[in-house]
C-alpha cells in the first residue's frame, strides 16, 4: 500500500522497518536519539533534522548518541560491522568527512581487499549533502565524487522518497560499506511510498522518463531538475531521456550507454563542483564507450568551481537549475559538426 510521505519519513520508515526485522541493525550519531544525558526526554531531537526521530523510543539500546568525535564513532560503526552488526552511522553533514575520512576510505573501504577477501563490513554511513539551505561553504557541499573515487565504497544518492526508502533498506542489507547521501533540501519533498518493506538494487539506473533526442543523466536532487527541464523541452518537441543512476558506485554504465546509442547526445547534471566529478565521470564513460553514437559534444551542468556561497542570491545561481539544463540540451541538439 503506497501513501504520500516525505523523503524524511521514507528514510525514517526504512530505518524503523530494518531495525524491526534485524536485531543487528544499530544506529548512531550526534543526537540521533537526541539529548543523551540531558534531563529532558531521551528522544529530544531524533537527529539534527529529525530523520532518526522515534527510533530510540522503540529500540532504546540500539540507538546511540555520540560525543562530537566523528573519527571515533564512524570507526566504531566500522568496527562493529566487522563483528556481526549492521551499523548505520550518521555523519550529519557530508562536509564533516574531513575529520573522519580515514576510517571510511582507508579502513572500511579497504578491509575486504587488503585482508584477502576475508572481511565483511556492512556499515552504512548516512550524510546530508547539497546546497539550498543557505548553510554556506562548510555545510552545503555535494562531495559524493570523493567517495566514488574510492574502490571498496558503494555510493547511493536517492532522488525521491520512493528511492530513499528502497535504497536505504538495500544499503542496510548490503554487505559492503555504503555511503548514503541524503539531500537536505529534499527532506520535505513528498511522494508515493509503499508502506511495506522493499529494496532497490544497486547499480541499476532508473529511467525516469524516456525520450529519443537527448540523454540526461542526473544525480540526487538534480533528477527532478532534469525532469523539469525535460517537461519544458517536451513543449518544443525535444524528447529527453532522463536517467537516474541511483548509485554512483556501482554505476549502471549499460543503461547510460544504451540510451546514448539511441539519442546520440548527452547532458550530465551534477550538483557537485566540476573537477573530477560525476559529470566528468559519466562524460568520460560515454566518450570512451559510446563515442560512435555521439553526435554532439557532451555538456555538463554542474556547480561552478567555487565553494558554496552563503548569499541566497549567489546560492541560487550556484545550484544548477532547469534553465541551465534546457540551455545545455539546446546546445547539444543545435550542434552541427
Amino acid at each position: 500500500m503506497a501513501r504520500t510521505i516525505s523523503y524524511r519519513e521514507a528514510l525514517n520508515e526504512a530505518l524503523m522497518q530494518e531495525m524491526e526485522r534485524d536485531a543487528s541493525v544499530i544506529v548512531m550519531g550526534e543526537d540521533n536519539a537526541g539529548g543523551a544525558g540531558a534531563p529532558g526526554e531521551p528522544d529530544a531531537w531524533g537527529g539534527v533534522l529529525g530523520v532518526t526521530k522515534g527510533l530510540y523510543g522503540k529500540f532504546p539500546g540500539r540507538v546511540l548518541d555520540t560525543p562530537i568525535s566523528e573519527s571515533a564513532f564512524v570507526g566504531a560503526a566500522v568496527g562493529a560491522a566487522t563483528r556481526g552488526f549492521r551499523p548505520v552511522a550518521e555523519l550529519m553533514f557530508i562536509d564533516f568527512m574531513g575529520v573522519c575520512f580515514d576510517q571510511i576510505f582507508n579502513q572500511a573501504a579497504k578491509f575486504r581487499y587488503m585482508f584477502g577477501g576475508k572481511a565483511v563490513t556492512p556499515v552504512v554511513i548516512r550524510a546530508m549533502y547539497g546546497a539550498g539551505l543557505r548553510a554556506a561553504a562548510q555545510h552545503s557541499q555535494a562531495l559524493y565524487p570523493l567517495f566514488t573515487n574510492i574502490p571498496g565504497l558503494k555510493v547511493v544518492i536517492p532522488s525521491s522518497p520512493y528511492e530513499a526508502k528502497g535504497l536505504m533498506i538495500q544499503s542496510i542489507r548490503d554487505d559492503d560499506p555504503v555511503i548514503f547521501c541524503e539531500h537536505k533540501a529534499m527532506y520535505d519533498t513528498t511522494g508515493e511510498v509503499p508502506a511495506e518493506s522493499y529494496t532497490i538494487p544497486f547499480g541499476e539506473a532508473n529511467v525516469v522518463r524516456e525520450g529519443d533526442d537527448v540523454t540526461i543523466v542526473a544525480f540526487g536532487r538534480m533528477v527532478s531538475v532534469a525532469a523539469q527541464a525535460a517537461d519544458e523541452l517536451a513543449k518544443s518537441g525535444v524528447g529527453c531521456e532522463v536517467i537516474d543512476p541511483r548509485t554512483t558506485s556501482p554505476l549502471d554504465a549499460d543503461t547510460i550507454i544504451e540510451s546514448v546509442a539511441n539519442t546520440g547526445r548527452l547532458v550530465v547534471v551534477d550538483e557537485s563542483t566540476p573537477r573530477c566529478s560525476m559529470a566528468s565521470d559519466v562524460s568520460s564513460l560515454v566518450a570512451k564507450e559510446a563515442f560512435g553514437s555521439l553526435r554532439a559534444p557532451i555538456e555538463m551542468v554542474t556547480a561552478p568551481h567555487t565553494p558554496v556561497p552563503f548569499s541566497p542570491v549567489l546560492e541560487d545561481l550556484y545550484v544548477p537549475d532547469a534553465q541551465r539544463v534546457v540551455n545545455a540540451v539546446k546546445t547539444v541538439t543545435g550542434w552541427e559538426r
Partner: protein, 332 residues
C-alpha cells in the same frame, strides 16, 4: 593542577576599561537578542547560533588581547567572539543578511564571519576546526617574537573532537603562546556535557597534555578576565599554553528554531539570577566605580547601533552574478 577561579573585585581595571567591557557585553547581547527577533520574521537566511548569555566569556578573554599581534579562532557560535575581538558590528549584521557590505561580502554568513585584519580567524562551521589554526597563529607569534598569543574558543562538544585534543598536545610540545578556552554551556546541540565529556571537567584535560587548567564562572566577567589575563601573561612570557574552562549557559536554543525539549528551567534561572550583565552592573556600581547613568548611556548607544546595523543591513545591496566566482584564488 585544575584550579577554580572565583569572582574578584574590579581587578584593577580603570573606568575606561570597565566601560569598554560593558559596552562589548551589551553589544553582544543586543546583537543576539535582535537577531533572535529578526530570525523569527523569516528574513535571515541559514543557520544562526546565538551567543546570548555567554558574553562574559568572549569579553573577559578578549579584553586581554591586542588587535594586531593577538588572534582568535571561533566556532559556529561566533558572533560574541567577533564583537569582542573588534569586528565591525554593522559589517557583521550585513554579513548575516548576506549583503555585499558584510564582513565577507555576503559569501560567508553567520557561521563564517571573519576579520583577519583584527586577528579574528573566523567563526567556523566545523566543530574543532579552530584549535589547529590557533597553533599556527601562536607559532607565527612565537617565531616573530612579538609577544602575540593565539586563543582558541571551543565548546564542550568541541572538547571531544580529536582536532582539539591534538592541538592541546601540539601547543604543549611546541610550547606555544596559546590559550584554549573551552566554553562549557552544558550542551552540544541536545547532548549534555555531563554525559559527553568523559572525565568530568574539561579543565581536567589540561594535565593530560602538560599545561595548567582552570575553571571559571562564565557569568562573572571579572573571573574570566583575570583567568585569561594570567594565561595570556604566561603565554606572552614564553610560559606556554593554558586551558581555561568557562562554565556558562546559552540563553537560546542550539540554533534558532531549536525547541529545547532537552532542558527546562535553567535558562530562566540563569537570566534571572546569574546574568553577566546584571552582575557586572551590580559589581561596578556597588564598588562605586561606575554609575547606573553611565551604563544606561552605553545601553542607549548600543541599542541605537544595533538598530542602525539592522536597518543598514536590510538596505544594503545583494551580491550579483559577477560575485559568484571571484575570490576562489588569489591568482588564477
Amino acid at each position: 593542577m585544575t584550579e577554580t577561579f572565583t569572582s574578584r573585585p574590579a581587578a584593577g581595571l580603570d573606568d575606561k576599561s570597565l566601560l569598554r567591557a560593558y559596552r562589548t557585553m551589551r553589544t553582544i547581547r543586543d546583537f543576539e537578542e535582535r537577531l533572535h527577533d529578526e530570525f523569527a520574521t523569516g528574513e535571515i537566511p541559514g543557520f544562526v547560533h546565538l551567543y546570548a548569555g555567554e558574553e562574559a566569556s568572549a569579553t573577559g578573554v578578549c579584553s586581554n588581547l591586542d588587535d594586531d599581534r593577538d588572534s582568535i579562532s571561533s566556532t559556529h557560535r561566533g558572533h560574541g567572539h567577533c564583537i569582542a575581538k573588534g569586528v565591525d558590528v554593522k559589517e557583521m549584521m550585513a554579513e548575516i543578511y548576506g549583503r555585499t557590505t558584510g564582513s565577507c561580502h555576503g559569501k560567508g554568513g553567520s557561521m563564517h564571519i571573519a576579520d583577519l585584519s583584527k586577528g579574528m580567524l573566523g567563526a567556523n562551521g566545523i566543530v574543532g576546526g579552530g584549535p589547529p589554526l590557533i597553533c599556527g597563529t601562536a607559532l607565527a607569534a612565537k617565531l616573530r617574537g612579538d609577544g602575540g598569543v593565539g586563543v582558541a574558543f571551543f565548546g564542550d562538544g568541541g572538547s571531544n573532537q580529536g582536532t582539539t585534543l591534538e592541538s592541546l598536545n601540539l601547543a604543549s610540545v611546541w610550547n606555544l603562546p596559546a590559550v584554549f578556552v573551552a566554553e562549557n554551556n552544558g550542551y552540544a546541540e541536545a547532548t549534555s556535557a555531563a554525559w559527553s565529556v568523559g572525565g568530568g571537567d574539561i579543565a581536567n584535560r589540561a594535565a593530560a597534555f602538560g599545561m595548567p587548567g582552570v575553571i571559571v564562572d562564565g557569568f562573572d566577567f571579572f573571573a574570566v578576565h583575570e583567568a585569561a589575563a594570567q594565561a595570556v601573561e604566561r603565554a606572552r612570557n614564553g610560559g606556554g599554553p593554558t586551558l581555561i574552562e568557562v562554565k556558562l549557559t546559552r540563553y537560546y536554543g542550539h540554533f534558532e528554531g531549536d525547541q529545547q525539549t532537552y532542558r527546562s528551567t535553567e535558562v530562566a534561572e540563569a537570566r534571572e539570577k546569574l546574568d553577566c550583565l546584571k552582575r557586572f552592573r551590580r559589581t561596578v556600581t556597588g564598588s562605586g566605580q561606575l554609575t547606573d547613568g553611565q551604563l544606561d548611556q552605553v545601553d542607549a548607544e548600543v541599542a541605537r547601533l544595533i538598530d542602525e546595523a539592522v536597518e543598514e543591513a536590510k538596505a544594503a545591496p545583494q551580491p550579483t552574478r559577477a560575485d559568484l566566482d571571484t575570490d576562489v584564488y588569489i591568482s588564477y
